[in-house]
């Protein structure tokens, strides 16, 4: 007992800044949850969900080095699980007006948390079925298989009329509006990823990314380790997908085109393949940035009626800004670094040093 207290004490002593930071973040969310309007709330919710999915994608792509493109498909499974099991039973007849819902599902309604976790579990099972053959191979097979899978799952959902309502989609999903669902889940998943990456499993992931043969020679079980990473990633993505469905309140197969996956590829490349904090930062930048640039779509942006200010311009400018970032930060904003206190301290020192050097050199020039 004394021992645990001691270790907790030393933990607090060494990580007090992190603990304080976490508390500040939690208070911040609490205040934001009370204060902000539903527009900002929606953007923040979406950012948090993108963080979850991008982070889980980074786990397999960035940390383990296995290129998976199945994020849209995994999200679809999580989203549909939540949709099917949380829509109130009374509304189902009107939603499934083309063909009635399959009788074995029609009367099952689960609480949101249970449906969310079930979505994660189902996604993991499906991921196991894909991973089992693909992860035994080396090379790009996983990318091809997962990309194919995510298209297949969309077509399956389009055609299973009595379960997913086909192309009509499901609406009237009870929505979440509180920030706690999305941010709470995001924080749990961020901490879980952080602990995982700094554990021996995480080091095994990274060793596979750097060199599979060397990792194998060191005694890392390639298949088992890749599978662990892939399944954890799929589980988190399924959860993210479930939250996505509950945020939007409707799902249909067209939402889960493979282009959705590229959103997350964009986020992890921008943030840095192999950086948790980079992924978080870039999820927020991408989601909020697209919305912040919306004024470019409006015709009277600067009081002048310029013909170039029409819908679509913000995407042009956004892409341009992304290119600029990638030009100057070739490994993404954070590379493989994490935003730790040491990292901030170093950056601060180096910037300070540069300015003092500059000041010194200009003084020198004056003489």
């Amino acid at each position: 007992m004394k021992n645990t207290q001691n270790s907790l004490g030393t933990y607090l002593k060494t990580h007090w800044k992190t603990v304080v930071f976490l508390i500040v973040v939690l208070i911040g969310i609490g205040i934001a949850d009370q204060m902000v309007n539903s527009f900002v709330r929606r953007l923040l919710n979406l950012s948090a969900i993108y963080t979850i999915v991008a982070l889980s994608m980074n786990l397999i792509n960035g940390f383990t080095g296995q290129f998976s493109l199945g994020q849209a498909g995994f999200m679809a499974i999580g989203a549909y699980t939540v949709a099917i099991f949380t829509v109130p039973v009374g509304l189902r007849a009107t939603i499934f007006y083309m063909a009635p819902m399959a009788p074995f599902l029609a009367n099952i309604q689960l609480p949101f948390v249970v449906a969310l976790l079930l979505g994660g579990v189902l996604t993991t099972i499906v991921a196991f079925l894909i991973g089992a053959p693909c992860l035994r191979l080396r090379g790009d097979y996983l990318a091809i298989a997962t990309l194919g899978f995510s298209e297949i799952i969309r077509i399956v959902f389009t055609n299973t009329q009595t379960i997913t309502n086909g192309a009509l989609g499901i609406k009237s999903i009870p929505t979440i509006s509180s920030l706690w669902w999305t941010f709470g889940t995001a924080i749990i998943i961020i901490i879980a990823c952080f602990l995982l990456i700094s554990s021996s499993y995480g080091r095994a992931f990274k060793s596979i990314r750097e060199d599979e043969i060397a990792a194998e020679a060191m005694g890392v079980g390639l298949f088992k380790t890749k599978m662990t990473s892939f399944l954890i990633s799929a589980f988190f993505t399924g959860i993210g997908g479930g939250l996505y469905a509950a945020l939007l309140g409707t799902v249909d197969p067209k939402q889960f085109y493979f282009t959705l996956t590229y959103n997350f590829v964009l986020i992890i490349v921008l943030g840095g393949m192999g950086s948790i904090s980079g992924t978080i930062i870039s999820s927020f930048i991408v989601t909020l940035g697209q919305e912040a640039l919306r004024f470019l779509d409006e015709p009277m942006a600067f009081g002048l009626d310029l013909p170039i200010f029409k819908p679509g311009l913000r995407m042009v400018v956004f892409s341009f800004l992304l290119m600029v970032v990638v030009l100057f930060y070739r490994k993404g904003l954070m590379g493989t670094n994490e935003l730790t206190w040491d990292f901030i301290g170093q950056k601060y020192q180096s910037i300070k040093a540069r300015f003092t050097k500059k000041a010194a050199s200009t003084q020198g020039g004056d003489k």
Partner: protein, 387 residues
């Protein structure tokens, strides 16, 4: 130098973003009434959204004021994407504080915004979204177009009565909610009309983007139907008709309102001659005085266009109906507008008389049937259904 440049660019990025946040909310709102227009202006459905927006803008030009206040249109692009659609709608409601929303092209995009307009109590009018679920169970969503069940019934009547068909084959675009819904309601109505439960002799499914329909068509040819009903996207439908004719299928091929685009004729060429579709509006024969005014205004605004697209006419109607409701409500309060909208009776729209029923749908009793003749969409018939 490079570092300085990168720093400069980062600053530019931050500056543009903050400019975006603060720029647009500084006008005084008391003497304008803000109306949100929520359309896909980029992405896959951009052409549809653009046409509706033109209709709304045309109407705004024709009637720029209500209750002595100027009406300001605030457009928000939803990128043909559902997640984007919800943020765009939330932005219109919260940031721009619009009193009502018009749009969106595409039923699923409208449905995505449904919960938001309901929980924020801001009325919305769907212009051409025909899926019944858009207004179902949502007191704040209305619409000015007819619904899939109605359109399916119209085409079933046309096939059974005018064409005298006994056996029909259906080809549906299975990934498109619009096509699936229409096929279902057509089937229901047609089997009821003919009293023959096996009147639908074959059903073929294809996906959006498919190019080759020979497999489906060979099956259909074997059943020798009197008519083929093939609602769906215009490109795929035009290709389908081309391939059907190449296979020697000569029976009439009929479809829904999505066919009425120029691409349908450019892709289909001579093969789509005689293709028949139901639609909302015919500019050579407007049903009302308002319709005539609208066509004249459209021809003056866009002199180089051949005809008035039906969704543009619906956009015009949506705006005019909203202004009428604001006038009847006597204020721009969203709740008052909603109540006035719900009580709409015999409003004279460009596409016909509009009465809003208890579901928030426009009750329309007629649809236009058009046929492709000499490379043009030509008025063929006006089908009226008595319920």
């Amino acid at each position: 130098m490079k570092k300085a440049l990168s720093l400069l660019l980062c600053l530019a990025l931050v500056a543009t973003m903050t400019a975006g946040c603060s720029g647009s909310s500084s006008k005084s709102d008391s003497d304008v009434i803000k109306v949100g227009v929520f359309e896909p202006l980029t992405g896959a459905n951009a052409s549809g959204g653009e046409l509706e927006l033109e209709g709304v803008q045309l109407a705004n030009k024709a009637r720029p004021e209500v209750l002595g206040k100027k009406v300001e249109l605030v457009t928000a692009d939803n990128k043909s994407d559902k997640a984007e659609a919800t943020t765009a709608a939330a932005r219109l409601i919260e940031k721009d504080k619009v009193c009502a929303i018009l749009g969106s092209w595409g039923s699923s995009l409208s449905m995505a915004a449904g919960d938001l307009v309901k929980s924020n109590k801001v009325p919305a009018i769907a212009l051409s979204a025909t899926n019944p679920q858009v207004t179902l169970g949502n007191d704040y969503y209305f619409r000015v177009c007819f619904l899939d069940p109605f359109q399916g019934t119209v085409m079933a009547n046309y096939a059974a009565k005018t064409l005298g068909a006994k056996k029909v084959a259906i080809v549906q675009e299975v990934s498109n909610d619009y096509s699936v819904g229409l096929a279902k309601f057509f089937t229901d109505a047609f089997t009821k009309l003919t009293g023959d439960s096996s009147a639908i002799v074959a059903t073929g499914n294809y996906n959006t983007g498919d190019q080759d329909f020979n497999g489906i068509l060979t099956n259909i040819k074997a059943t020798n139907p009197d008519v083929i009903f093939a609602p769906g996207n215009y490109t795929e439908s035009a290709l389908l008709i081309k391939q059907a004719r190449a296979l020697g299928i000569t029976c009439p091929i009929i479809g829904g309102d999505t066919w009425e685009t120029n691409e349908f004729i450019t892709v289909g060429g001579a093969d789509v001659e005689g293709a028949v579709m139901s639609t909302f509006f015919d500019d050579t024969n407007p049903p009302t005085e308002a319709g005539k005014t609208m066509v004249t205004a459209y021809k003056a605004e866009y002199p180089d266009r051949a005809n008035v697209p039906a969704v543009t006419a619906l956009g015009y109607d949506g705006y005019m109906l909203l202004l009428d409701a604001i006038e009847r409500a006597g204020s721009a309060d969203p709740q008052a507008i909603r109540d006035a909208l719900a009580q709409t009776k015999d409003f004279e729209g460009a596409t016909g008389m509009i009465t809003i029923n208890e579901n928030g749908d426009a009750e329309k009793d007629g649809a236009i049937i058009k046929v492709v003749k000499d490379g043009k969409f030509t008025y063929l018939d006006n089908v009226t259904i008595t319920k």
